[in-house]
Every structure is written in C-alpha cells, then in structure tokens.
Assembly symmetry: C2
Homo-oligomer: 106 residues x 2
DNA sequence: TGCGAATATGTCCGTTCCGACATATGTTTG
DNA sequence: CAAACATATGTCGGAACGGACATATTCGCA
C-alpha cells in the first residue's frame, strides 16, 4: 500500500537521513516530513531540558507516555496538530514554533 | 459538549476578534487557534494572489472545493496538518510557513 | 433583474489519529 | 544481579478528520 510505504520512509528518515532523499515524495511532502521531524526533535529537547519523564510530560499535555514516545520518534500516527499542541502546552510560544517550523538548520 | 463549545468559539474567533479573548482557553490553546487562523488566512491570500478558484486550488492540492472553503474559514474540522500540507502543495516553503506560524502580527 | 460562476454550509462514511493499556526493552541505582 | 524506573512498541475502540456530494447563498456582470 502506498500510504504504508510512505510511512516507512517517514519513520526511516528519522534514523537514516534527510527525508527528501527518499523517492516518491514531492518537494512539498518532503518538507512536511521535515517539519514533523523538527517538531519531534524539539519535543524531546524541551522535555529533557525540563528534566521531565515521558510520563510527566504526557500528564502535563494531556496525553500518554506511549504517545509521547511516538511523538519523539516522529511516528507516522502522530499528527502535526498533536506536536504543536503539545509544545504549546509545554510552554513554547508562537515565535518559537515559527523558528522550529521555518528553520532549515538541523 | 466541551469540544463543541470550543469549536464554536474557534469559529467565532475568525469573525469577532482575538481568539484569546474568549474564556476557557488556556494560553496554549488560544495560541493554537491563532496559528490555525493565520494559516487559514494565508491559504486565502495565496490562492487569491494566484487567482485560483477554490475548485482549482482544491484540484492542485488534492482536496475538494468545500474543504478549501472550510480551510479558509478555519472550520473546526480542518486540521493544522491539512493547512500546512495544502500550503506546501501550493508552493509555500518551510521558511514561509515559519513566518506564518511565528508572526504575531495580523 | 437574471443567469452563471464562485463560495459557503451541511452531511455521509471511510480513514486516520488519539489516549489508554499491555508488554517488551533499556537504563539506573543499591 | 535485581528491583525500580524510563522508554519503546504493538494493539484497540472510539473520536476526529478528510474527500466527496448536495444544496444554499453570494457575487459579478450584461
């Protein structure tokens, strides 16, 4: 299935390299994946800065430990909405989100 | 229902004023709504810049006219994912998305 | 005013996403 | 080592979201 394949690429991108390196993604789709990866990285960073466990973070943002693990792994079942809402709930603001979304740096 | 109420506030925010002015939204939730509104505005702007009808825009991004109308209206059933994916498909890039997300200006 | 195009609104139903739970794997500390 | 804690992975039932369609409303223009 096509969607499944994309999901595997997406998940693999976290470990292996730049998402855009994988075929069958339009530039827009590749950028979308990279945005998700950037948000996921920031979730982990922010949580570790504050020295929260995933369970604590989950409680804070109204989610569950397993879903936080999936957020940080940029699991395909995690939406940008959830990442953004979680970051906001954890104290990030619009400006910071803008930096995360917009910065090409890694 | 709580979610329904929030949805009404959210929809009303588009017409009436700043989302944060409505009660029962945490700061994070209010910022989330404002991000959605900013993305929705940009969809309309971008589409009108290019002089596309909603139907044309829908075809371009792989959606439908009615859903594009809902995107531009920041309808509660429209996710940030959809807005971001549509903007990317319509030619926006990460940097521009970052500006949209991060800018407090209206 | 009336007609056609564009946009808005409501609904349907299949797909995706989410919190929760169970459980596995990994890490720290006594 | 072993217990306690943290993180990862898989699954499930219900909620949210999406494209599509029908239809209403608004808009432009002759």
């Amino acid at each position: 299935m096509k969607i499944e394949k994309r999901r595997r690429l997406e998940a693999a991108g976290w470990r292996v390299g730049e998402a855009r390196d994988f075929l069958e993604l339009t530039p827009g789709e590749a950028e979308f994946v990279e945005i998700k990866l950037a948000l996921a990285r920031r979730v982990r960073e922010l949580r570790e800065e504050k020295e929260w466990s995933q369970a604590e973070f989950a409680r804070l943002v109204g989610s569950s430990q397993s879903r936080v693990a999936k957020m940080e792994a940029a699991d395909p079942t995690v939406s940008v909405d959830l990442l953004v809402r979680s970051l906001l709930a954890a104290g990030a603001n619009r400006r910071e989100l803008g930096r995360i979304v917009g910065s090409t740096r890694r």
